[in-house]
């Protein structure tokens, strides 16, 4: 049995990598990927918690989030494709037309 601490640490590391990806990457596609990593970090935390406490709720949460992530990716990728068709780039620094 692996200690829960390792799982928590892995989850935090994955989440941080995701955050770093969202903030640092300029390609919209990679930002989406980083978001998925963050989601998965959270999901990992849920499962670790569930097995630690012997409570199945966390695993049900995992299924829910999985569905959510799938639909999110579907919509997000659709938007990204649309964005690429319109602007011929996925660089978020150039996609700043919503400047106030």
């Amino acid at each position: 049995m692996i200690s829960i601490h390792w799982l928590l640490f892995l989850s935090l590391a994955l989440f941080s990598i995701g955050v770093y990806g969202v903030v640092a990457r300029r390609n919209l596609l990679f930002i989406l990927l980083s978001l998925e990593i963050m989601l998965n970090a959270v999901v990992l935390l849920f499962i670790a918690g569930s097995s630690f406490h012997g409570n199945p709720d966390g695993q049900i949460m995992y299924l829910l989030i999985l569905t959510l992530a799938a639909s999110e990716v579907a919509v997000g990728l659709g938007l990204v494709i649309h964005m690429y068709r319109q602007h011929h780039t996925l660089d978020v620094d150039k996609l700043s037309q919503l400047r106030g």
Binding site: V19, V22, V23, A24, R26, I31, V92, D93, L95, S96, Q97, L98, R99, G100
Partner: protein, 624 residues
Amino acid sequence: MLTNFLSYGVDMQIPDSLLMLIPLLPFVSSLILIFVNPPKKIVTLLGVGSVGCAALIALLFNISLWGQTDYVIKAGFGNWMTIDKLVINFDFYLDALSLVMISIITGVGFFIHLYSTGFMDEDTDYRRYFAYLNMFVSAMLVLVLADNMLLLYLGWEGVGLCSYLLIGFWYKNRDNNMAANKAFLMTRIGDTGMAIGLFLLFYQLGTLNIQDMQTQAVAVWAPGSDLQGNSMATLCCLLLLAGAVGKSAQLPLQNWLPDAMAGPTPVSALIHAATMVTAGVYLIARNTQLFQLSPDAMFVVALVGTCTLLLAATAAMVQNDVKRILAYSTISQIGYMFLALGVGAGSVAVFHLMTHAFFKALLFLSAGALIYSVHHEHNIFKMGGLLKKLPVVAASFAVGCAALASLPFTSGFFSKESILEKIVDSGHTELWWAAVIGAFITAFYSGRLFFVVFLGKMQQEPNHTPTKTMHIALLVLIVPSIFAWMQPQGLIALMPGLPSKGLSDLQHWLPIFTPIAALMLAFGLYRANFFGSELKSPALQSIHQLLKSGWGFDFIYHHLFVLPFKWLCHINRNDIIDLFYRRLEDTARLMHGFVTGFQNGRLRSYSASLVLFCVLAISWVVLK
């Protein structure tokens, strides 16, 4: 029936309502001329005819009231406004004083109108000229006939407006506009004082009806009552005096009048003789009882008159421009009237006003004919030797100058003698001496003016001869300028003077010989070619310069009021008060810029700030 007719015929009762026609006729004619553009003959007929009819009606009143001393005729259009206690009627009031005034205004005014048809014949704005002129006469008639102070004030302001329009009549020249502005603004200063005086009078006496005011004032501010009432009477009188000083061009508001010469010459005649400048004298004469309640105010009136008459007479001695000489002489003669009013001789003041109206109108009209004849030349030293060429003008000028100099057996002699006599009666010997010196200077500059213009070598040939109507007006005005010897009887009854003290021999004979001596001196100096020659000593030159600028009042006012005002305008051109609001605006703009910096449209900075906030928030919760 027949007896009835006869008794009417002898008395010649004329309906009171005719009185309303006097101001109304010129007013209606002026309105027609403003709004309709009739052919030139009709313009002449309307412009001259309306004032002529008014003059006829005034003449009828004169005949019907001949020999009577105590009469009052009232007529009116009814109520003008009623606000609580303040009831103002559009009523006219005719007594001896206003009868004299309307006779002067319509009579002299008519001949000035007649003369203008010749003088302005070639002007393109003929119609506008007569519209203004009629309005001017009408406003002045309202002023002198008004039954209450508010209606008087209406006429007063109407006169101010029309004088502004007429002084700036040739509006394409910037100087004329400046002169018109100056006249308007200077008189406005006095008018403001007068308006405050009217408010105060209403507040104190509860009425603005002139006759009620007099009786009320005597009751409220009775002589010998408490000191406070007395000083209030003085204050009211001084405020009214401010208005009179402005309108009548007396010290310290006198310097608009010489500049008012910018208008056409008949307008100057009208301003100086019949309308406008006599309004101040009328105002004080009308409120005689009020002024008599305040000896201090009376003394101020006399003092203002004395200072003005000396100042203007000395300034008139050195002018080159024929119209400016006459302008200063007007200021000086009105100074005499104020002096007479100040020593409590209102009737004599109005007598002098009357004779002055005749001879000053004559002088101005003949000066106009003179200027008209010699290529619009104003400088008297470029004229000369015109006696033979322009005999009628020369004769009328001579009569005018003689009356102005108060040579014996002219109208000016009798009125000025009466003024001097009344000053002696009042006991102000120092003012008497000042007035005699003034008379000497007056005769001196009249002589100088006449000799330089009409005697000697001819400088330039006259190219126009005055038209027939101009000659008629001049010839008619010569008659009253010489023969207006008698003071209207009604005036004495209305404004009884002080009891006569009797004159010493010196006081009797000196004023008679003063003008003769002055004229002889002027003639001697003229023969010695003194006038117009260069002055040798620099001190004399600077005195000459000072006198020529009218004692430098323009200079003083320019530095005392105009320049500080301009300076204030200059420093305030950026709106000092707005500076505060500008700072507010700048602050708001700065903060706005700071906040909008966050909304930069960059996804990464949004997410970064989100992360930052989350980290901060969580660490704050955790570490607390």
